[in-house]
């Protein structure tokens, strides 16, 4: 009984903690505005209504994950890994929920359902983990080379913007740019996951991409950590 009583209070506490942060409310407003902007852009595109909904859904799936990722500028990446992951999950659930409700409100007929969003959240969690691994590897590389991480994280955000297919599906990119993009882990974080809205066929290759990139990044991280430990002990 005590546990049942504590669950609502825990939810209320989490919601209160989340909404008391003006930055997070800013992210919600940004998400709503971007959905409004793309809703009108999508409606004006020469596409069928189904394709227009898919376009908006693709953008929405990209943005809710992008805005949930820990940010370097806001100091979220400087906290522990567990805390970063907790922040991502909390933001992802709330922003994802808001995205779904907004899309339900904007579209009278919704092609994707709660089950699609549940799957999308599952993949979003994998995206979050991959992004966390990538930023951790970047941070360790910066420490190894004695460079300031700001510029690296700026490049990382630009990589997400361009190669993540933020507002245009990667399949519509020129073929050379698609090839370049798929040589980076950014499509696995954003575009490939959101493209599942067009077809679920890519889900198995997406899982392979997650594991492949995670293994590679873990390998690099391990090597850098080893090197740094050796350097420290040699001094």
């Amino acid at each position: 009984m005590k546990r049942l009583q504590s669950l609502p209070s825990l939810i209320i506490h989490t919601l209160r903690a989340t909404f008391s942060c003006s930055r997070f409310l800013g992210a919600i407003l940004y998400l709503l505005l971007i959905l409004w902007v793309y809703f009108h852009i999508g409606k004006a595109l020469p596409l069928s209504s189904l394709q227009q909904e898919q376009f908006l859904g693709y953008i929405a799936c990209n943005y809710f994950v992008l805005l949930s990722l820990p940010s370097w500028e806001q100091g979220e990446m400087q906290s522990s890994y567990a805390s970063q992951l907790r922040t991502f999950i909390r933001k992802g659930i709330i922003l994802g929920g808001i995205t779904l409700l907004t899309l339900k409100f904007l579209n009278k007929v919704l092609i994707f359902s709660w089950s699609f969003f549940a799957m999308s959240w599952g993949f979003a969690l994998l995206s979050g983990l991959l992004s966390l691994l990538m930023t951790t590897t970047l941070l360790h590389l910066c420490l190894w080379y004695n460079k300031k991480p700001g510029l690296f994280f700026w490049l990382y955000s630009k990589g997400l913007f361009l190669f993540g297919g933020l507002f245009l599906p990667l399949t519509l990119y020129p073929s050379w740019l698609q090839t370049v993009a798929h040589c980076t882990p950014f499509p696995a974080i954003l575009a490939d996951r959101s493209q599942l809205i067009f077809s679920l066929q890519g889900s198995s290759s997406l899982i392979h991409a997650y594991f492949g990139w995670s293994l590679l990044l873990l390998g690099i991280l391990h090597a850098v950590k080893d090197q740094r430990t050796q350097n420290a002990s040699s001094f």
Binding site: Y30, V37, Y173
Partner: protein, 219 residues
């Protein structure tokens, strides 16, 4: 350099978008190019000539803590023109590049609109920061700035412009593009009225904010 790279990346992505969808909601690639040119140009002019606007929160904090005597007869003008932000040159370079991709003959007329938009941007920022005289809303102002930029630099279909004009982000990007394509007096009048109104409001709000602290200092 980061600003130029950022803007060019944005331009490149929209180029990709317009390669796939050459026309939508009254927008073409030429319009988008003009939108980015006008948006970045106005922002660049503000950063270069009224860079002090970003120092307003510090000035207001100083007023609240040490209550300095305002020696200048026009403190707002002194504050706004007192410093320049180097990234503004990056925005201006992007703007020039966007014009160079198309019709260079548009530059003189575009410069007039960008100057008006620059006054409007400065006034909006001044108005927002002046609110700090009365309330602590620093983080909200940063959020508003972000949303303002988003609405200024995205191609919203023309029939949905009402919100943009109220915000008034539409006056920074969409309205100058409309005027550059076909000039007509009614949008120009809206543009001029909006700019004058916001400049007047910004001046009044800042004046009363300073007055508040000067009165407290006398007491």
């Amino acid at each position: 350099m980061q600003v130029v790279f950022n803007n060019l990346l944005f331009l490149f992505l929209w180029k990709l978008f317009f390669t796939v969808f050459p026309f939508f909601g009254g927008w073409t690639w030429q319009d988008m190019r003009l939108l980015i040119a006008c948006g970045t140009g106005s922002l660049g002019l503000m950063f270069v000539f009224f860079g002090g606007v970003k120092k307003m929160p510090d000035f207001i904090r100083l007023c609240q803590t040490s209550r300095p005597a305002l020696t200048s007869k026009a403190p707002l003008f002194t504050l706004l023109c007192g410093s320049s932000i180097p990234s503004g040159w990056g925005h201006l370079a992007t703007s020039l590049f966007c014009f160079m991709l198309g019709d260079l003959s548009l530059i003189p007329l575009a410069f007039v609109y960008m100057t008006l938009a620059c006054f409007l941007l400065t006034a909006t920022h001044t108005l927002l920061y002046s609110l700090l005289f009365w309330c602590r809303a620093g983080s909200w102002i940063a959020i508003y700035e972000e949303l303002f930029l988003l609405l200024s630099l995205y191609p919203i279909p023309h029939k949905n412009m009402c919100l943009l004009l109220l915000f008034p982000a539409g006056c920074v990007g969409t309205l100058p593009v409309t005027l550059l394509r076909t000039f007509s007096w009614s949008p120009f009048f809206i543009f001029l009225t909006s700019t004058s109104l916001f400049c007047f409001l910004a001046f009044i709000v800042f004046f009363f904010g300073c007055k508040k602290y000067q009165a407290q200092t006398l007491h």
